[in-house]
């Protein structure tokens, strides 16, 4: 009997070893392509900037201090770095606004698709994903063509006589938001659609039967039931908006920076890699906080309501 138990234990050990071997390629890629570079970023954020970019290998927390504080050049006193705080604030605010508008536009769209006959749903989803085929840069320039002062929108409005001078949209926060809304809208529609497709529309009928008006059915039945989709879509829009680089660069005209642009600036013209690294990690922390909220709400999504 002891021999049999020994054999079983050995088989189990072999099995575990085999599993490690099989997952080794994936683990190596994760280590070298994700964990490794991230570790380098963390290390760089605690070093001093070199004169021509790069870093000097001296331990320093200066970069971290200057994430939100700035040292006066003359008396070396610390004060809040207004420019950085403004950029953080703009990034969060614009990302939130983009998320809210993406929901307001995405919800009816997803509802429309989910209530189509099954045959045509695939076609609508296909149309939603078409913009993904085009390079982000080109899509952003396309939006620029629409909203610039001599662009499609302003020309059309002036021809119609609705306005006499072009509305200044381009190079404003609004322009950045419009651009991000356009780029990230599909990321809201798809998860919303996924949870609406699972929605049992007999529950909607049951709601009407129990004297709920259209609006009450939406608020009391549909919204709580598609909550996981709302949370997932919001996160998928909020996170890339927060780190957006191309859109604010082109549509913000370099005056309205977002976090992504600030980080790029430190690695480029700013020649302050440690600050760039610490800003990157700050962004990562904000994103992770958002993800934690997501796990907290999506895990219990649709249940334990009220």
């Amino acid at each position: 009997m002891a021999g049999a138990a020994e054999t079983a234990r050995k088989a189990e050990r072999d099995d575990i070893r085999k599993r490690w071997l099989l997952s080794a390629p994936a683990l190596l890629i994760i280590f070298f392509a994700a964990a490794g570079p991230l570790a380098i970023v963390v290390v760089y954020s605690f070093l001093e900037p070199g004169s021509y970019g790069d870093v000097r290998w001296t331990f320093s927390t200066d970069a971290w201090v200057s994430v939100i504080l700035q040292r006066d050049i003359f008396d070396e006193t610390l004060s809040i770095a207004d420019a950085h705080v403004a950029i953080f604030w703009r990034s969060v605010l614009l990302s939130l606004a983009t998320t809210v508008f993406a929901f307001l536009f995405g919800f009816p769209t997803a509802y429309f698709i989910a209530t189509r006959p099954e045959r045509t749903r695939a076609l609508w989803l296909f149309l939603i994903t078409i913009p993904f085929w085009t390079n982000l840069l080109i899509r952003t320039f396309a939006i620029q063509e629409v909203i610039r002062n001599e662009g499609l929108l302003n020309v059309a409005l002036m021809k119609l006589g609705l306005i006499s001078a072009p509305i200044q949209i381009i190079y404003t926060d609004t322009a950045i938001m419009i651009g991000m809304l356009y780029v990230y809208l599909p990321l809201m529609v798809l998860p919303l659609y996924a949870s609406m497709e699972k929605l049992d529309f007999r529950l909607v009928e049951a709601g009407y039967d129990l004297y709920a008006t259209r609006f009450q059915v939406l608020r009391r039945i549909i919204l709580p039931m598609v909550k996981p989709g709302i949370v997932a879509g919001s996160i998928l829009v909020f996170i890339p908006s927060l780190g957006a680089y191309v859109t604010p660069r082109i549509l913000g005209g370099g005056r309205n920076l977002m976090l992504g642009n600030l980080i790029e600036l430190q690695f480029g013209q700013g020649r302050n890699w440690p600050l760039g690294a610490s800003l990157s990690i700050t962004l990562l922390v904000i994103v992770m906080a958002a993800l934690l909220i997501y796990i907290r709400y999506a895990g219990t999504g649709g249940r334990n309501h009220g």
Binding site: Y208, L210, Y211, T213, R303, G306
Partner: protein, 364 residues
């Protein structure tokens, strides 16, 4: 309790429903008219696709009739949306809200009607008691059994005190024993609440045991409306006779007729008395139906004769399949008793005695 038992709760007047437009609309209901009395347990019975669920959905307001009127206490409700009709539905799938507890489900309708909180709480407690679910009020609907979900669905639909309760095959998802229990439970609830129940089913036994009146439907038409006994004993058309219970069909010729009765000559030459559907008179060939338990086997002297081909034992009764001399098979059902002496064997020649008043002439 009924104020005036003969008042109509629901009156369906020449209602038609077509699905899909264009060249080939599908006809789901074909100028159906029927009156459902106040306080009645009324059943729409028919095979799937007969239009019974469509009719129920028209009364609930989920679909709108292509043509015709639906009166609720004399008022046309056909154009009203479902949330403006004092009618509630128990769905086949129950359709309980998964994000709400048992009590929240039951309170939903009352909340939507804007009733005061105290009244809602009292009513929910009362409903939970009515369906015997008091201990489960704070459970999630995913944590209770199918039978319990059924009770919650009933309580939810009854809570707003609708004028009419619609039940769309509510027992079909339950197992046999639970179904029997819920049949009794439903009758009790209908009696205690005094609400008109309109019940849809394809199960003829369920319809016979529970209903005050039954409407038998087929292909978008109501073929016959009557009490369970009427429907079973006096089917007017072949479909009704065939759909409900087992039946023997015999070709016959009308010899004489008077006052709802007719003398008909069977293929064997014997003349028997049969009842005739209201307003029907024929002198030619007709079809006569005889229920298997309304006939018995004899050694000789019956109206029909043949050879016993098959004996099937069912526990409570035995079915004797007789190949008639004039062609066709006739089934006789006899109740079993403990002191059963062997009366007949397969292959024996037997005679069939048709009971008095057992035969019914069909319209078609």
């Amino acid at each position: 309790m009924p104020e005036s038992p003969d008042r109509n709760a629901i009156e369906i007047r020449r209602v038609s429903k077509f699905f899909g437009g264009g060249d080939a609309p599908v006809k789901a209901l074909d100028t159906v008219s029927v009156a459902i009395r106040e306080n009645e347990f009324f059943t729409l019975l028919g095979p799937s696709g007969c239009g019974k669920t469509t009719l129920l959905r028209l009364i609930a307001g989920f679909d709108f009739p292509t043509d015709g009127e639906i009166l609720l206490h004399g008022q046309d409700i056909a154009p009203l949306p479902p949330y403006k009709r004092p009618v509630n539905t128990v769905f086949q799938s129950y359709a309980l809200f998964p994000h709400l507890t048992v009590a929240q489900n039951i309170a939903f309708g009352l909340e939507m009607l804007g009733r005061p909180k105290a009244e809602i709480d009292a009513r929910v407690t009362q409903m939970l008691k009515l369906v015997r679910m008091e201990e489960l009020r704070n459970r999630s609907t995913a944590q209770i059994s199918g039978g319990q979900q059924q009770r919650v669905a009933l309580a939810r639909a009854l809570a707003p005190q609708p004028k009419v309760l619609l039940l769309d095959e509510p027992l079909s998802a339950l197992d046999f024993k639970l179904r029997k229990e819920m049949q009794i439970e439903l009758k009790r609830l209908q009696h205690e609440t005094g609400i008109t129940f309109i019940f849809v089913t394809h199960d003829q036994e369920e319809a016979l045991t529970m209903s005050d009146r039954i409407a038998v439907m087929s292909a978008g038409n109501i073929l016959q409306v009557g009490s369970p006994k009427d429907i079973y004993d006096r089917p007017a058309v072949r479909f009704v006779a065939d759909f409900i219970g087992e039946t023997n069909f015999l070709e016959a010729t009308v010899e004489s007729s008077s006052d709802g009765r007719a003398g008909v000559r069977l293929g064997s030459g014997a003349v028997i008395e049969a009842s005739v559907p209201e307003g029907f008179s024929s002198t030619g060939k007709v079809t006569v139906v005889i229920r298997p338990e309304h006939a018995r086997l004899a050694e000789a002297g019956g109206e029909l004769s043949g050879k016993l081909s098959n004996i099937v034992y069912f526990g409570t009764d035995t079915h004797f399949h007789v190949d008639l001399d004039v062609g066709g098979t006739f089934i006789v059902r006899e109740q079993n008793t403990r002191d059963d002496r062997r009366r007949a064997r397969e292959g024996d020649r037997v005679s069939i005695v048709v009971g008095k008043g057992a035969a019914q002439v069909l319209r078609d």
